[in-house]
Structures are given as C-alpha cells and as structure tokens.
C-alpha cells in the first residue's frame, strides 16, 4: 500500500531522540580526540618505564589506575595507547576510503567488462578475509603493526568500492542522469555533480562504523601477538600482557578492554545515528 505513514516518535529511554545517538557519539569522540592529541603531554608517568618494585600496585595518587606486571603506570599506558590505536585506525580508514571510492565511482559508472573484471578480482581478494590475510602476512613477513595495516588496507578497500559501485550502478540508470546526459553534461561532470553527492552519506556511515571494526581487528591481532609488539603501549597488546595475571589482577585486562569498548562504542553510536539521520540502507 502506498499510504504514507507519518513517522511517529514514541521511543522509550535513551533512544528517544535519534540525534541523541549522534550527540553521545560526538561527545565521546571529542573526549577521545582530545585525549589522543594532548594525552601524551599530561600523563603522570612514562608509559615505558618499568619499575619492578612497584609491580601490580593498586591505584594511588602516583598511579591513578595502578601498575602492571612490570610496574608500569596503566593509566599512562592507556592514554598513550589511544594515540597509537586511533592514529593507526584513522590512517587505515582514510587510505582505504581514498583507494576505494574513486575506483568504485569509475567502475560503477563505466560498467561493462571493466566491472566484470573488477568483481572477479574482488571475489579473489575477499576469499582472503582481512583477519586471515593478516595472519598470513604476519606469518610470512613477521608480525608488526605495519604489516598489519597493509593487510587490512589490502582487503578493506573493496568494501568501499563495492558500496560506491552499487550506488553508482543504481543511480546511473535513473532518469536524472539520462537527463543530464541529454543536457550535454560530460561524464566527468555527471560523476562529480550527480554521483558523488549520492555516495557521501553512505560512505561516511560506512567509514564511521569501520573505525570501530578496524580498532577491534587491530586489537584482536595485537592480542594474539601479531600486531603491536611489546613493549608498545597498544591496548590489545596490553590485554595480552595482562593475561597471565588476570586471576589475581583482573584490572590489567579490564581497563584496556573498557577503553577499547568505549571508543568503539562511540564510533558505532555515531555511525548508527548518522545512518538513521540520513536513512542510509546497508548494502
């Protein structure tokens, strides 16, 4: 039935206002960014200095969250760790989007054989999920953050190309694109003016949600010891460090885990909020 139903807002508790999701997310995001940028200058202790006499110390004024198994300040390590985790993630997502979007635009718009070839290649690459690829690369080339980033980028750009491509393919057959062609607009102009605006919001949503996913992937692999190498204060690696002690000192794993959880949650909240606001369908 084509009866237009007015949207009714009668949603319980904190989802009442859809924008609230974004607002929560944005507040989190600002806190996180600030922490990342100025954090390293204000941390109470050097995150790398071990002090074996202060091992597994409880929270105190000197060590706000206590110390780890090597007597390093957990709080300082968390703050500094934010920088490496988030910095890497931002870099990865930006690279991926910069590679994926133009390819998707061109392939989707031109279509035909080029598109078929691309889809084959994409299928081939997707047979190697980023996690497995990361394992492969870490396995053959040795575990390191750089290798980890390469493997994520290598697989992830396809997701962006796919999203962009599928939008472009639906849009390019619509009458308004035909009308623009009839009106003498060049292909470049059609891509720039008519296609690009269509992909902005879906790609932003995708990227926001991907930041969370990439953080999770990086920290999982670091947890396995395939990403950041000790003694770097990376959250996943910190969790791995704390593992032998977590029966006696669970806070070693609780704090970094919480940090990861909240940061990812922030980006997910923002992504969900933006998706609702722009009414982006997941493809």
């Amino acid at each position: 039935m084509n009866i237009q139903m007015p949207r009714i807002n009668r949603v319980p508790f904190f989802f009442k206002n859809q924008n609230l999701l974004i607002q929560c997310g944005i507040i989190f995001f600002i806190i996180i960014t600030l922490t990342t940028l100025i954090g390293p200058f204000i941390v109470p202790n050097d995150p790398l200095t071990a002090n074996m006499s202060e091992r597994l110390a409880p929270p105190s004024s000197a060590y706000p969250l206590g110390t780890d198994h090597m007597g390093r300040c957990i709080f300082s390590r968390l703050i500094v760790g934010a920088q490496s985790t988030l910095g890497i993630t931002a870099l990865v997502v930006a690279t991926v989007a910069l590679i994926g979007i133009p390819i998707g635009l061109v392939i989707g718009y031109i279509g035909g054989r080029l598109d078929t070839v691309f889809m084959r290649v994409a299928d081939g690459i997707l047979a190697l999920p980023e996690f497995i690829l990361a394992i492969a690369i870490a396995g053959f080339l040795g575990p390191s953050l750089t290798n980890l980033m390469i493997s994520i980028v290598f697989v992830k750009w396809i997701a962006y190309t796919r999203v962009v491509r599928s939008i472009v393919i639906t849009e390019r057959n619509k009458d308004y694109v035909q009308a623009a062609k009839v009106g003498g607009s060049s292909n470049w102009k059609i891509i720039r003016r008519h296609m690009f605006p269509q992909i902005v919001s879906p790609v932003l949503v995708l990227a926001t949600l991907d930041i969370g996913k990439v953080i999770l992937t990086i920290s999982s692999l670091s947890y396995l010891g395939l990403g950041a190498q000790p003694p770097a204060p990376e959250w996943g690696a910190m969790l791995n460090d704390g593992r032998p002690y977590f029966q006696s000192a669970p806070e070693l794993m609780i704090y970094p885990g919480l940090a990861i959880f909240f940061v990812v949650l922030a980006f997910n909240l923002m992504g969900e909020g933006l998706r609702d606001k722009w009414d982006v369908k997941s493809r």
Binding site: F13, A127, L128, P129, F131, I135, L141, S220, Y223, L265
Partner: protein, 313 residues
Amino acid sequence: MLTIIKNRVTQLVVVLFILSLFTFTLMKMAPGDPVLTILNADEMVVTEEDQAELRNKLGFDQPLYVQYGKWMFNLMQLDLGKSYMSGKPVIEELLTRIPITAELTFFAMTIMLCITVPLGVWSAKYVNKWPDQFSRFLALIGASIPNFWLGLILIYLFAFKLGVLPSSGIGSYSQIILPAFTLGFTFAVVYARLLRAGLLQSLSEDYIYAARARGVKEWRILWLHAFRTAVLPVLTIFGLSLGSFLGGAVVVEILFSWPGLGSLAVDAIFNRDYPVIQGYVLLTGVFVVLTNLLVDLSYYVIDPRMKRKEEAL
C-alpha cells in the same frame, strides 16, 4: 540452474588460482631461509654441503615457475609439504585439527541462530517498542565489544568467580559453552538487527498486504511469506563477514586453549613453520570461497525469481 553453477564453479577456479599464487608469492617473500630453519641452524653447525643437499632435495634451486608448477602439482594431490616443526605432512596436521574447530564453529553458529532468529523476529514485531530497543542496545554492545575481552570477562565471571564452567580445555559440553557463546554472541546480535531490517522491508511489501487481505494466518505470513526474503541480507552479510568469524574463531581458540586450526596457525607463525601457515591460509581461503558459493546458490533457492532473471539474460 546448471549454467549458474557452472559459471560459479569457473569463478571458483579463478579465485583459487589467485589464492594459490598469492600464498606461493608470500612464502617466497618470507625472510629467513627455510633450509636453515629445518636444519635447526641456530643450535647446530650446518655445513654448506648439507644446505645444498637439502636445497636440492626440496627443489629450491630450480627457477620459480618450476617450483610453482611442482608446488601446484603437489597441491592438486593435497600434498602441502611437511611441517618444519613436527615433520608430519601438513595435510595430516590440518585434518586432525579440522574437526576440533568445526565443533566450535558448529556450536557457535547454533548459539548464533538461537539468538539471531528470535531476537530479530521479536524486534521486528515490536518495532520501536522496548524489545526493539533492547535488541538495538545489545547490537551496539555486540558490535563494540572485542570478543576476546568478552571471553576474558566470561572466564573471569563463570570460571573464576562462580566456578560453574571450566575456563579452558576440550572434551565435555560444559567446556564448549563459553567459547561458543563468546564467538557466537557478537555476531548474533548484529545479525539480529539485519534480520529485523529485512523483515520490516519484506513485511511492507504489497504482497504481504495482499496475503493479509486474503485472510492468511499471521504466522504463515511471517514465516512463509516474509521471512524468506528477509534472510537474504543476513546471508549476504554472513558471507562477507565469514572472514571475521573465522578470525574470531582464532582468537577464541587461543583464549580458551582450544587446540583447533587457529591455535595451529598461531603456533606456526611464532615458529616460522611456513608450510603450516600456507596450508591454513589455503584451507580457510577455500572454505570462504565455497561458503560464499553456497550463499550465492541459496539465493536462487530462496528466491526463484533471481534464477529466472539470470537465465533470461
């Protein structure tokens, strides 16, 4: 249908070829000399002659394409070489681990289904009411929580604090609950949202309205008319996120000391046991491709329209 399968299988062969080329290249790019690793050069004195002899035996002195050809030939016969560590054939190592991982995956997926379907249907039925909000809340948590951390928390709670479930090991059903739940939960709640969206979409179709107007019972409408197409987006995403699922399985295996394929692979990485890593990568690659093939084919079973459309072209 046959032509479709034929097309897909051709695709599959191409994909597998790329995959094999890729792993072979990576293996050749790997730093360190496998010959020295095998001869355990760190601890023993190895002569040039010994090295040359082994190199010749392994065929490493031949041109790359010959090596690849031989390697491919062996691969066809499921011969992936021998593990540097245990000296056993890689295929044997893999085969002993597959059932262990399969068990974990099977239980995780069962738990996943048991959460996804009811939660998805429930929240679609009460859109924007509290069940829907609850499932949204769960999905946000599920998408934000690192699954190894969830596992750690679960171990801490159930094994250490409550002492009701074992923290690791394999063999009994009580031991499988925590790892399977850890693996299944994060995916289940996210898929539940997808299922909900799919259901809302298909419930708003004109043919659902028409079926209601014909007096068809509500449960038939939900399960026979609406559910089918609602599953499609979930299946698509499942196919695409299968990699993360397998990745999650690796993490969970390590976390719960589950001696499956993941543990094997991680051990192999730290021991630079290249044939095993290669075997693992190839195996998962084949698995992912085959599963996606199944997902693709299931579309045609679920919605016969697609089949006819494709055949008409």
